[in-house]
Every structure is written in C-alpha cells, then in structure tokens.
Symmetry: C2
Subunit: 171 residues, 2 copies
Amino acid sequence: MLAAARRLFASRDPRAVTMDDIAREAGVGRGTLYRRYPDTVSIAVALLDAHERELQEKLLHGEPPLGPGAAPAERMAAFYTAMVELLDQHIDLVLGAEVGDARFTGGAYGFWRVHVRSLLVEADLADPDALVDILLAPLAPEAFRFQKETRHLGPDRITSALHLLARGVFR
Amino acid sequence: MLAAARRLFASRDPRAVTMDDIAREAGVGRGTLYRRYPDTVSIAVALLDAHERELQEKLLHGEPPLGPGAAPAERMAAFYTAMVELLDQHIDLVLGAEVGDARFTGGAYGFWRVHVRSLLVEADLADPDALVDILLAPLAPEAFRFQKETRHLGPDRITSALHLLARGVFR
DNA sequence: GTCATAAGTGGACGCACCGTCCAGTTAATT
DNA sequence: AATTAACTGGACGGTGCGTCCACTTATGAC
C-alpha cells in the first residue's frame, strides 16, 4: 500500500493523488485504505518519516557541523544544506505531506523549529521566536518547488544562497 | 457580489469559502457568479488588487525609503514593513488569493520578485536569482498566518525580525 | 476437526463542491 | 411593437470524500 502510494506520488502532482487512486493502485478497497490512514497527507508523512528521523538523529547526535560542537552559524548552514538535499530528493513526498496547514501542524516542523531556535539562542540573537519561522520559510516545499521547477535552480545554488542568509543573520 | 465575497472571506477560513457560498450570500445563481469569476481565487485577487497596486505605485514612484532614492538595504527593510502591514490587514484575502501554486503564478508575486531582485542587483550581491525567492519566502501568507495566529506574534515583532534579515543579507 | 468469535476487506452509499449548460427572463435597438 | 442581444439562476453530470456494512478470512477453544 505504501509502495503503491510512493509510485503515485512520484509519477504525478502529489497534491492531486487521491485515496481512490492509491487504493486502486494498491489493489485494495477504499475502506481498507482508510482503516490504516485517514488521508493522503498521513500516507506521505509515513513515507517521509524515516528520512526525517535520520536527519533529526544527525542533528542531535551526529558529527559537527550538523551535530553539536560547531558554531551556531556553521550548524545553521549545515542544516540548510541537509534540508535542501532532503527536499531535492523527496520533493514529491514533502509536497504531499505538507499541503496547506499540515506543514506547521506536523511534528517535523516542530523539530526543525526547536533546533533552529536553539541555534539562535546559542548565538544570542534578538527575538529567536520571531526569527525562527522566518529562517525556515525558504524551506517550504512550495517555495523550493518553484525555485527548482520554474526558475530552474539547482540545489547547489539554492544552498549557497541559504548559506549567505545564514552567514548574514548569524553575524 | 464582491462585497458578499469580502464578508465571507473575513468571517471564516478563506480557503474553505466555496463558489456556492458566495453565490448564495450575494443572492445570485452559480452561473451568474461563474460568468464573472472562474474561481474563488480570482475573486480574492480582485478584492486584493487595489491594495497591491497602491503599494506597487509607492515602490516605483513613492518617497524613499520605500520608493527610489534610498540605499538597497533601507528599501528592502521598508518593503518588508509595508508587506507585513498589508498581510496583517488583509491576511484573509491573501490566504484566499495565494492558495497553493497561485502565489507564484499570480502577477503580484512577479512584481515583488522584480523589485527585490533589482535591490539585490543594485547592492551587488551574489546570485540574486536564487536569493530573491528566499527573501520573499517569509512573506508567504501561510507562514505569516502561523506566526500571527499560532505563535501570537504581533506585526511589529515580525517586522523587526525581517529587518534583521535584511540588514544581515544586505551587508 | 468443528465451531464461535474476532479481525479484516472492499465496494456501495450519501454528501459536498465543481464547472458547464440551457431554458427562461430582462434589457437594448430599430 | 418586434427582434435581437445579454443576462440570470438552477439543473445536471462528474469527482473525491468519509462512513458504513455485508461478507470473507484468520484465531482460538473444545
């Protein structure tokens, strides 16, 4: 069922994938699908979960500069690099998982938020609570998709620009 | 009809307002509504248009620091201030107008993009094409709404944080 | 091995919204 | 007054949603 969903998310606009589509592709009835997942968002989240946990683990206990030990500015830049990589590899799943408000209500955003906020606090910057969501905004999947698909920017250029941002904010 | 739509956008989640709702509230049939507007997005855009044009005019021919004459960093900060004000006053309309991809395909985003890009060029910063969308990302209505409604941040704090961003990027 | 109970399955159902279409009405023109 | 044009509002078919339930399959007791 998850494999069927992954195929569909990859093969067309993830936001247009319906529960019927997934059920049909998986060869099961709608009721069976609904028994396990309440909507397409939670299916995309389930598919994305492993990758997000992996990054979260590296942020908490990995090597610097992603993990603890490096200066906040370095860690922020490394975080941007890792997030762009994750977005680039799984943009279809992230688009499926973070449609509309789901981006903010899902657990992953909370994790990124706590992490970046702690970096801001460590760097002793003014009003981390206001800055944190601003620094995370460029990682919104819709924004990334626009840069990638419409503006034809590669992950490297996006990452470089984000590094400029990180360097600018973290004096 | 526009008045009815404005009432509805203001009174509930703008993304949940349907064409039937607006037609009923306006006291006309669905067909009549569709004759003038193809979807709810274009209705929200029509309501927002006047306010956006006003700001665009100020950017092009107004007094500095919003208009021409001030340093790019100053103009960027002023632009952030004005955009936060616009978002704060009309968040319901912007949410209705920029749902999903509409944010990027609508004409307004293109205008903001050209403006900010020209400031980046004037300041001689690296890769304006990559930076511009990153600097505009925090102005996405979903992000602003999250900061305002969920994080309970006032426009002043958001503006200050954005100024920090502008100052950081524009050396 | 048989039977009762539980867990699981898949499609049918009613609902909401979409976008189109058209018969009827109203206004404009000569 | 008559002809034409423009407008109106609801009916229609289509799609996706989420629930519900008759049926099948697995589990465990005797």
